[in-house]
Amino acid sequence: MFKNYLKIAWRNLWKNKGYTIINVGGLALGMAVTLIIGLWILDELSYNSYFKNKDKIAQVFQSQTFNGETGTGPAIPRPLEKGLRDGYSDNFKHLIMCSWTNNHYLKYGDKSISRPGNYMQQVGPELFGLEIIKGEKDGLREINSIMLSESTANALFGNEDPIGKTVTVSNEHKLNVSSVYKDIPVNNSFNDTDFIIPWEKYLANNEWIRNAEDQWGNNSFQMFVQISDNTSFEKITNTIKDVKKNLNPDSSEFNPQLFLFPMEDWYLRSSFENGKQNGGRIKYVWLFGIIGAFVLLLACINFMNLSTARSEKRGKEVGIRKSIGSQRGQLIYQFLSESFLVVLFAFFLAMLLVVLSLNGFNELSKKEITFPWDNGIFWLISLAFILFTSLLAGSYPALYLSSFKPVDVLKGTFKSGKYAGLPRKILVVVQFTVSVAFIIGTVIVMQQINHAKNRPVGYDKEGLIQIPTFSQDFVGKYDLMRSEFLGSNAVVEMSTSSSPTTQIWSNRSGFTWEGKPEGFQEDLAWTEVSSEYAKSLNLKILEGRDFSREFATDSLGVLINESAKKYLGLENPVGMLLKDDNDEDPGPPLKIIGVVQDMITQSPYEPVKQGVYVYDRQNNASYYNLRLNPNESASKNIVTIERVFKEHFPDIPFEYEFIDSEYGQKFASEERIGTLSGVFTALAILISCLGLFGLTSFVAEQRKKEIGVRKVLGASIFNVWNMLSKDFLKLVIISCFIAVPIAYFIMNGWLQEYPYRVILKWWIFALAMVGAMLVTILTVSFQAIKAAKANPVKSLRTE
């Protein structure tokens, strides 16, 4: 019997090829989108799952309140380590201090590479469960050792055995390779840790870190823990939350609250607002999950609509089968197995589409997703997915078709009249509501990105590059390099800074100035720069002047930005003093020499933070900022710069970044969302139109006789086209009016997250509506005109 069903299903599909292509193709497209989104979601959810102890690992975070605003972050002071080890060690199986991930130069023989890595305490590798593939497990035991990732070891040593070899780090520290660990996968918070050096070495190398041992105000370190087996993150958080406040009563004015931030949440729920956890990437997981579900729904609606639209043809079969003795249940079973067949087909096609498009998708989404061929659970889920889809798509047609009365269909009096069309109409409305909402959403995302991109950055980011200068080799060489670079004709101006132009690396408080309100807790972005900083960036000076080497006193000068001027409440800031009252490490008072325009250093969607630029007296420069010669091509300039650089630093790899592309990174996440939702929207519309196309062709056929009679009575082609198109256009207009308020509500909510945002204009909605209608008219017209042009004699004769 099942064979008979399959046979008839197969022949039906084969006979109506156009219908089959629309149906299977549309469904496959929908399933492919859902599959890809499913794989993406799986990948997002499995972030950090490389670490076996994932559910026991946490990072110690702290929230502090400045002027009523609570900021939350991972930076903690060094004395906290002793505080937690002394009083609370029961709670932790392991506890480690860790540095930030920074690029260093690694050198072996004449090979020199720049790689990111960390300093960690000894149990770090064990805590994270790194997979050691060569050398000793306890690789951080010796102070002069270094652990390398597999790819880094390969890059440095090639085929040689790296264990025991000496690597020179930052051109000064000679460290022995103790072990090699397997590369940490891309979807992991530590994916850029290419080497690990013992924490003790970090202390030995840096005086300021040794000094930080009892500085509670120096929040410059990270701490990771693995909690004991019989406790929970919440319990420990409750115990330790006030530790800093209790051990260091001075800090209580900022009300520091410690808490454990579980690894589970690092990636997806890392956003904090006023000290409270507030979503994060998880919202995109939800967003795309919903998009995937909707796209699948659209494709299923096509299936339902086309199946029921064809009911007149299948009706006869139902009648015959019933008159021969089929029961309703058997017919339901038959139609469901038919839809199963179609869905199965579509699924294989969808898999093919996914495999073919996975590379492109990975590029778009910056992922390394592979098709999980060998994953049993994936296949199980797929089977459930196929069954679910065939039920979703097939149940309505099955119930509808099997309910026909044989007498009606066989007598030929059966007409799927007004009543039968209603559910179909509702489904079309649902489809276009979703599509129109998608269009509006995508347009608004794009607009917001453009809006932020067009925001003035405050300086000239074109023709500006930065060269990292982390190593000690650069100390004391600035003036020489400056004259060399300027003399090479590739560079017209140059400066240094302690953080990249597009980021803030340091914030300070503890200043006093004339007119400071009582109890004001300031928080200033802190960047140390050289002379000509503003000039090299083309940063506009609004008041006063730039740092200049002509004034010796400039070494105690400071530039403030416009926001800082407002923030500090200064009317005529130039000449005023900013006194450093820091308890632990007080500096000399700084004289404000100028006010510069605000420049966007953080999120382009947020207001510019108040900041100060102080003269770099302690060789804290991390970057050279070079203004390229605009009269030469950039590539030629770079070649010249590299030559000059190599003359003076032959052992250091030449690295540089264009500031405008660094700045562009700030849009990467939103742009990705924009592109992806654009692609999915296009597919959603395509699927809806496929359905509409199929539906029109059936309606045209259904009304063939009517069209024939009308034409005999004198209707023109335009009249007939109008008659057929109007019905569908009406549905799409209804969809528009449902979609617009929904889209407005959702997108308005999304925009609220961005302080710097585009204003929603009515024409976006109008445009989306007109677009949807145009697409409808185009889709419908093809069939409508074909039907209208048909010779009425032919259609009437068949009756």
């Binding site: 008979n4 089929s326 044989p406 007498v407």
Partner: protein, 221 residues
């Protein structure tokens, strides 16, 4: 007694009025009869046939088929009953276009859950008996109207029914094809003892039967 209709009424509601399709119809059919139902268009011939075939319901009255009271049966039992004992022949043949002649013949057996080997044998028998072995792999649309109706009759017969219901079986055929089909019916009735009830417009076709029932406006006259 094969079946008995007692005071059958069937109506539809139209604009607050009852339009009677069948009005107080009484009918007894013995096994082995060959009955022709005649009457003008709209007199209720097809409706009566469909009621007998249990494809249609009625509003009032009693219907007994082989001593089972059909009007009290659930759909499932009813369909079991007619699946077992009744075969249908339609004016426009109603073969499934997607299936070959052979597969069309096989279909009723599938619903009766006949085993594969037996099914094959029965189908082969039937093809042989109707002289259509050479056409078994053709699709209905590749056959002439007469041939299609032949397949239709063969399909009705394959389940060995006691009763064949034929709704204007020759309505779409030319005179020569009509004659062949009627002779076939006569032969089935005489030689195999199959009871036949046919609806027809043609006096000539009605002559083949043993009894004629005339209907007018839903009433037997």
């Amino acid at each position: 007694m094969l079946l008995q209709l007692n005071n059958i009424f069937k109506w539809v509601q139209q604009g607050g009025q009852r339009i009677f399709l069948l009005k107080d119809v009484n009918l007894e059919v013995e096994e082995g009869e060959f009955i022709s139902i005649m009457g003008p268009s709209g007199s209720g011939k097809s409706t009566l046939l469909n009621v007998i075939g249990m494809l249609d319901t009625f509003n009032e009255g009693e219907y007994e088929f082989l001593s089972e009271s059909v009007h009290t049966l659930k759909e499932k039992y009813r369909s079991n009953l007619y699946k077992e004992y009744i075969g249908f022949v339609f004016q426009s043949y109603h073969l499934l276009d997607e299936l070959t002649v052979e597969e069309n013949l096989e279909m009723p057996l599938l619903y009766k859950k006949v085993k594969g080997s037996e099914r094959k044998a029965l189908v082969a028998d039937m093809l042989d008996r109707f002289n259509i072995v050479g056409k078994k792999d053709l699709f209905p649309t590749q056959l002439s109207g007469g041939q299609q109706q032949l397949v239709g009759v063969a399909r009705a017969l394959i389940g060995k029914p006691k009763l064949i219901l034929a709704d204007e079986p020759t309505g779409n055929l030319n005179s020569q094809q009509s004659e062949e089909i009627m002779q076939l019916f006569q032969k089935l009735n005489k030689e195999d003892g199959v009871t036949i009830i046919q609806v027809t417009h043609s006096e000539k076709n009605a002559e083949y039967g043993s009894r004629i029932i005339n209907l007018l406006d839903g009433r037997k006259i």
